[in-house]
Amino acid sequence: MKNQILRMLTGTLAFLASGVALADELNMRVGVTDISRQVYDLHMTIFYICVAIGVVVFSVLFWSVFQHRKSKGAVAATFHDSTKLELAWTIVPTLILIVMAIPATQVLVAMYDTGGEDMNIEVRGYQWKWQYKYLDEDYNNSFSFFSNLATPKSQIVNRSAKTDTYLLEVDEHLRIPINRKVRFLVTSEDVIHAWWVPDFGIKRDAVPGMLNELWAIVEEPGIYRGQCTELCGKDHGFMPIVVEAMPEAEFDAWYATKVTSEVVRQESMSKTFTHDELMVQGEVIYGTYCSSCHMANGEGVPPVFPAIAKSPVALGPRDDHLSLVINGVSGSAMQAFGKQLDAVQLASVVHYQRHAFGNDVGDISQPQDVINLFNGQ
């Protein structure tokens, strides 16, 4: 009876195992770079060796469990030592490990070949978003942008249906060209994050004060998704990574428009905005940068995340309010947004905070005020 049950169990397990081998979702992804394929092959090699070891060891164990039982009349032998056996099962595993170590070393050495890159992108982790900065001097104009979670709150709290890319969608993709060696310089602004794109076979911690190098040559155009993989606080699960690999010509065209719009953005710094323009822009920025802590209604989660509604800061002098947003509050979760937002964005979000959630100060904040504050320091 017991044997039958066990046979059924092993049968089910074997069936499950075969299903497992077929389904792609259950295993590491092969990926789209040479390195990711090498890593996948290495993973499968080690996996099969481990399975083989497991099968041999467990077969001996279960053979013994079924054969050498008292209920079958087995009488205990008296042997309890064998130097030959001990040597054998020390040496053989060592040899197997050497067999494993050789390809592992080769792949690792290949991964560390970070030179000869075609372009550099700085990847900077923030609580809880990524900033991408295109660094190459060849392109004359470096520009940067933030990549924020784009999954609406309503999906997260189950008020609307979840889409296929639930939690894996951002407002702006990191774009890279295919067939060029892209070097990523990974660092962080606050706590440690980790930047991982499974399809490229690369993952590296983003450590404040350190610059880590990664690289990839992507062979197929497509959208590749990953997530932050180092606990970084409250919204660690909500800062995905989305990389769009584009054909070279398409990438170059996109890059050119990006540089142009960068010039336009620089020019907008000297404009003067109306109350309504600032409120519209401010609300968008508030939703992206502020609401995860201070909440959509401005009530915050005291005491960790103070309220903005009716707060002394939002009702106090405008420049103090601007300075606080620009410089953050050290030793707290309030970041220095002066590094993340430009003058137009800062002016509009502060203006919005001073005229929303029941606040109505009646003043106005312009980009020039922000620039003056920057210069004053």
Binding site: V39, C50, K70, A77, L85
Partner: protein
């Protein structure tokens, strides 16, 4: 001097424990303190387990249903800390207290008053730590590994309580270890040479040295945190010239030996149970001892394999990859020796044996995934995913925890003089076995498919496996409440146990009556060759 004479006077008359509840506060008896440790760790196990169920409830489906991410992080952190420092470690110390004096033929531990102190620190440490959950701003939320600067600059205010709780736990562990070493080295019965000691005693001797070596390192790490937080130092603050990565090096220099602290005594336990129920002497005793010593040594030179993605030079990555792979050799030797012990034995499958065999099988699975994790290039893909969660739960739950449960079933007749109900024990085993595998096996797949650990919500492709995992967790969780019932039933109404409670049991503890007398061996016993190894 007069005190010594006084004590001697008392020892002349075998006496039982003092009366009343204060007995437990003042006791210096190794059995009383062992009992305190074991019940304390069981309580912590249920609290830590309840936290695990909160986590699994939230992860049952994608989306946020029950708790906020902020609280989720507090649950993962406290679950880890409580299970490591509150459940597994004190349980092993409790077993050491109960068993080591009986196994080496001593009346008690060498330092009974310190023994009392090292236990009674723990309830304070854990009250302090758990109380942070009710403070403004919440409790520790930075993971049980508490990486700076998340645990310093960005930590909730309650982190200071956490730091002092860790200091207390460390002090308790160090005192416990000193006591264990002193007992083993000084109080063995005449004739019990080191190479005749029972495996549980051997593994604990080595574990105790590991504890003394690394607990001060942990104390150093949390003290530096304390200074960064309150006295404006910059040990781990890059902006002030410090290094957040240094925190990880220090933490894992403690943390990796810590992992073996939680498994070496388990090796000892299994090395008692398998020979007993195979009715055959432990195979390769000498190499078992050397294997444990090798594992302990290697545990000091592999720490950075927890940090492969942190950004180290190639030479560093290679060194830590090779040294980590090397651990497989002595660990393999242990597994092979257990199987060789079973081979051509005359086996029966009482509850302790079932747990011990499950230990060998499931711990080996955890060991094999450990070899996969040691392969640095592949580790980049596994690191901080559910694959790692599956790996370390396989070595800690059906590893360390199963060995503790096996030990309780194995020695409870000696402790209480009562036999547990065999069919209830077997039911407990099968529920636990199914529960643990249903919970943790699918996590290998969700990890390989790319699910990061420590997230309160996940992408849709991980939904099925998380649901299965949550179901398993509840089966496992409630079967441990059932364990509590089995224990209480045994203590209240178990059948009387024989002195040698198991047919194949060897060792000095089985020469004592069941339940064992309050002062185990008042006179040094004769160490007969059939009771010891060698």
């Amino acid at each position: 001097m007069s005190e010594v004479i006084h004590a001697d006077h008392h020892d002349d008359h075998a006496h039982g424990p003092a009366k009343g509840m204060l007995r437990w506060l003042y006791t210096t008896n190794h059995k009383d303190i062992g009992t305190l440790y074991l019940w304390f760790s069981f309580a912590m196990f249920l609290i830590g387990g309840a936290m695990a169920l909160v986590i699994r409830t939230e992860l049952f489906q994608p989306g946020l249903q029950f708790i906020e991410p902020e609280f989720f992080n507090q649950m993962t952190t406290n679950h880890g800390l409580i299970m490591v420092f509150g459940a597994i470690m004190p349980a092993f110390v409790g077993l050491a207290n109960w068993l080591i004096p009986m196994q080496v033929g001593a009346p008690d531990m060498a330092l009974p008053r310190m023994n009392n102190l090292s236990f009674w620190i723990l309830p304070f440490a854990f009250s302090m730590m758990i109380s942070t959950l009710f403070m403004e701003g919440g409790g520790p939320n930075f993971g049980w590994t508490f990486y700076a600067p998340l645990s310093t600059t960005y930590a909730p205010d309650s982190v200071t309580y956490f730091i002092f709780a860790v200091h207390l736990m460390g002090a308790s562990s160090i005192m416990g270890s000193i006591n264990i070493i002193a007992t083993i080295l000084n109080m063995r019965a005449p004739g019990m040479t080191l190479m005749k000691m029972p495996m549980f005693v051997w593994t604990w001797l080595i574990t105790a040295y590991l504890l003394i070596a690394v607990m001060p390192v942990l104390a150093g790490a949390v003290t530096m945190m304390l200074f960064d937080i309150h006295f404006n130092t910059s040990f781990f603050n890059a902006a002030g010239g410090g290094d957040p990565v240094m925190f990880q090096h220090i933490f894992w220099f403690f943390g990796h030996p810590e992992v073996y602290i939680m498994i070496l005594p388990a090796f000892g336990i299994v090395s008692h149970i398998i020979p007993t129920f195979a009715r055959k002497q432990l195979f390769g005793y000498t190499s078992m001892v050397y294997a444990v010593a090798s594992i302990a040594f290697l545990s000091f030179i592999v720490w950075a394999h927890h940090m492969f993605t942190v950004g180290m030079p190639l030479a560093g990555q290679l060194f830590f990859m090779y040294s980590t792979m090397l651990i497989a050799v002595p660990t393999g030797v242990k597994v092979f020796n257990w199987i060789a012990t079973m081979w051509r034995g005359s086996m029966t499958f009482e509850t302790p044996m079932l747990f011990a065999i499950a230990f060998v099988v499931l711990f080996t699975i955890g060991g094999l995934s450990g070899i996969m994790l040691a392969i640095t290039p592949a580790d980049y893909q596994y690191h901080d995913t559910y694959f790692v969660v599956a790996h370390f739960h396989y070595v800690l739950v059906p590893g360390a925890l199963f060995s503790i449960i096996a030990a309780v079933y194995f020695w409870i007749p000696k402790w209480t003089g009562k036999m547990y109900d065999e069919s209830l024990g077997k039911l407990h085993f099968w529920l636990s076995f199914v529960g643990v595998n249903v919970t943790f096996f699918p996590q290998h797949f969700s990890g390989l498919a790319g699910m990061p650990r420590r997230i309160p919500d996940y992408a849709l492709q991980f939904a099925d496996f998380n649901m299965i995992s949550s179901v398993g967790a509840f089966i496992f969780g409630f079967s441990q409440v059932f364990f509590l019932y089995v224990l209480i039933k045994t203590i209240r109404s178990g059948a009387p146990a024989k002195a040698r409670s198991w047919e194949g049991a060897k060792g000095l503890e089985w020469t004592l009556p069941s339940p064992a007398p309050y002062h185990s061996f008042t006179y040094p016993p004769e160490v007969k060759s059939e009771e010891v190894h060698g």
